[in-house]
Symmetry: C2
Subunit: 382 residues, 2 copies
């Protein structure tokens, strides 16, 4: 199986490939990426249709760890004759913020008022219509807080207007969010699907900090969001896993965004479910029966390890509390970069979330114990 | 980390390396092995001290997926200056059937009467002393039913006597076994250790067919076997995981054998415990704090997929019952060869063992559905 992208999502597909008896071949822009060492790595620019098509030769099927592939790569992949799953049309529609909103509305989710603006004048009209604060979102290519700009002052508007060189962005009012939720659906080509539980996600500075599974919300919200996600997956004719992120605002579910690939909010499934989101993504792409997506534990909490500085932490000093698993991505530490995650399973969501976050904090910077300076993850060599 | 051996045990170390942020480099006799595609693979004869020493250069630490390394390789590895864990002395002692028995007796396990014989005359004496039936075991290099010969008739004795060209074997009476048990201990260099639950194993033709965890035995047997295993690990100054297999005979625990590496009887830990045996092996070898070895589910059953013929099964037709995980090794099917395993978690050990065995059977041969002939595991290509 060929994978476009070699980051941590590709890395975490590796254990699934190990279990399924298949191998991965990865196309990555640089040789030293999170997945390197665990797959045949091809270095090349996946934005170039020629590179991507050449990579596809010799693969049984192509899938993606991100939705950043430019639109002209998909037709080239289709011409190559190698199956591409999710389908190119699915990838294009699922990663377009305008299409996402049409799909979500058709699936019964609320969608915030929004406008697509391409220049300062259109932006000014949107400000007139909605007032401040606003959020500007890149139409495609944005994910995980990237491609998001908060517009809260006249200065913000001026800066945004000046940067809009005909490149359209989606503008919508900033919602007063009561909770952020996410649900992941795995779907095969024949429509067979399974859903993971709805989870609650917690953000800091636009980056997911932690996740609690299952979310403690009213069951009818969980049912509605799950049903909407299945409808969206069906509308997209999606193959693989897809995550729908939603806001709970005044007791109503609003679309946040879609991700047609394994997603940070479902990393807990590695340790808490019979079949992880990564294995079900591969199962769907390989057209194998999906694996049980239910949790084998009452609750799970996941906390991202977000690098505090440039100094990596080698976990030799990190004692693990019971039911705690760490997952390191072998990525160079840079402030604000996700370099791993921690999962804790148990009964009390609040307690396990606290433990997960504490261990993640220990892994995010060497802290006071700088007597053993570590420049790069020790494990990056064999 | 360097690993000597590229079979399924090395393959299953891969997900652990993915989680721990380290990479594997594997020394294997042939290029097309179970672990290939998931690590840097060096093809070479690991029985050759020069090859092994050259392989060790560039590794932070060397470990083993099997105990078949000849004795003269260990001093060469020690001279190379690259840490070798388990220690060479541990590997030698743990894999010698005579030393195993001394260790086990000192740790409080029963040991069957036995003799080491090197020729037909010594064998005849042992037959006089013990009577039939007997079991002959290779002193070292035997594992998993290999290196075992059952002596039940005069013909068996004659054949064995003729084959004993000065190569000593251990002879012991065949015990009347009530149950076969196993326990796995993970131990760090500093003596810190954790134990997995005692499991019951079921053999057919000398090959492990299935495992139930935890074993339903009297708690005092579980305690005794666990304590003995910890003592053995301490005596060996073992680093990594080690499995002690025992027979329950007339309410007494007898040593069967030791394996100073990840072991088939603990494959269930991948799906049923917070930290798998493979991750704890790597953690111990890397001198990281060990991870929680307790089960997150009430019970687990593991069944090996034992190839019925040469025709591989691609699991596209294999629907997975709830709480069922499959692990395929991407090995060419040959009759009697272990090519994967199935784990089912749940409450009722008998029920989940039945499910695991049924799914393993489906994966062991294409059965009647030969309309889709598959020559080799489809997933062996990318």
């Amino acid at each position: 199986m060929g994978v476009i992208g070699g980051g941590q999502l590709a890395r975490m597909m590796v254990p699934a490939a190990v279990a399924l008896g298949c191998r991965l071949k990865i196309l990555s822009g640089e040789p030293d990426v999170s997945a390197s060492g665990f797959a045949e790595l091809v270095t090349g620019d996946w934005r170039d249709p020629c590179v991507t098509t050449r990579f596809a030769q010799g693969c049984d099927v192509i899938t993606f760890e991100h939705e950043l592939v430019p639109d002209d790569v998909y037709p080239a992949l289709e011409r190559s004759g190698v199956p591409t799953l999710p389908l190119p049309t699915t990838m294009r529609n699922a990663s377009n913020k305008v299409t996402q909103r049409e799909l979500a509305r058709a699936a019964g989710l609320q969608v915030a008022d929004h406008e697509v603006v391409s220049d300062a004048a259109e932006l000014a009209n949107a400000v007139d219509r909605f007032g401040l604060p606003l959020v500007a979102k890149r139409i495609s290519g944005g994910y995980d807080g990237r491609g998001l700009t908060w517009l809260r002052s006249a200065d913000d508007i001026d800066r945004m207007g000046a940067s809009l060189a005909g490149d359209p962005v989606l503008i919508e009012p900033e919602l007063s969010i009561d909770a952020e939720l996410a649900v992941t659906v795995a779907r095969r080509r024949n429509g067979e699907h399974l859903t993971y539980p709805v989870v609650r996600t917690f953000q800091e500075d636009g980056i997911c900090r932690s996740v609690i599974a299952p979310a403690r919300i009213h069951p009818h919200h969980a049912r509605s969001l799950t049903a909407a996600a299945v409808t969206i997956a069906d509308q997209l004719d999606h193959v693989g896993v897809i995550t729908v992120e939603a806001f709970l605002v005044d007791d109503e579910l609003y679309l946040n965004e879609l991700a047609p690939r394994p997603h940070n909010s479902a990393h807990y499934t590695i340790d808490a479910c019979t079949t992880s989101q990564f294995e079900n993504h591969l199962r769907a792409v390989l057209d194998l029966p999906l694996g049980d997506a239910s949790m084998v534990v009452p609750a799970a909490a996941m906390a991202n390890v977000i690098a505090a500085g440039e100094q990596a932490v080698w976990p030799s000093d990190v004692e693990l509390p019971p039911r705690t698993s760490i997952h390191l991505y072998a990525k160079r530490y840079r402030p604000g970069r996700k370099v791993g995650h921690v999962t804790v399973t148990g009964h009390d969501p609040t307690a396990i979330e606290r433990i997960a976050t504490a261990i993640a904090d220990k892994l995010s910077s060497p802290g006071e114990r700088s007597d053993d300076p570590v420049g790069s993850p020790k494990g990056a060599s064999a």
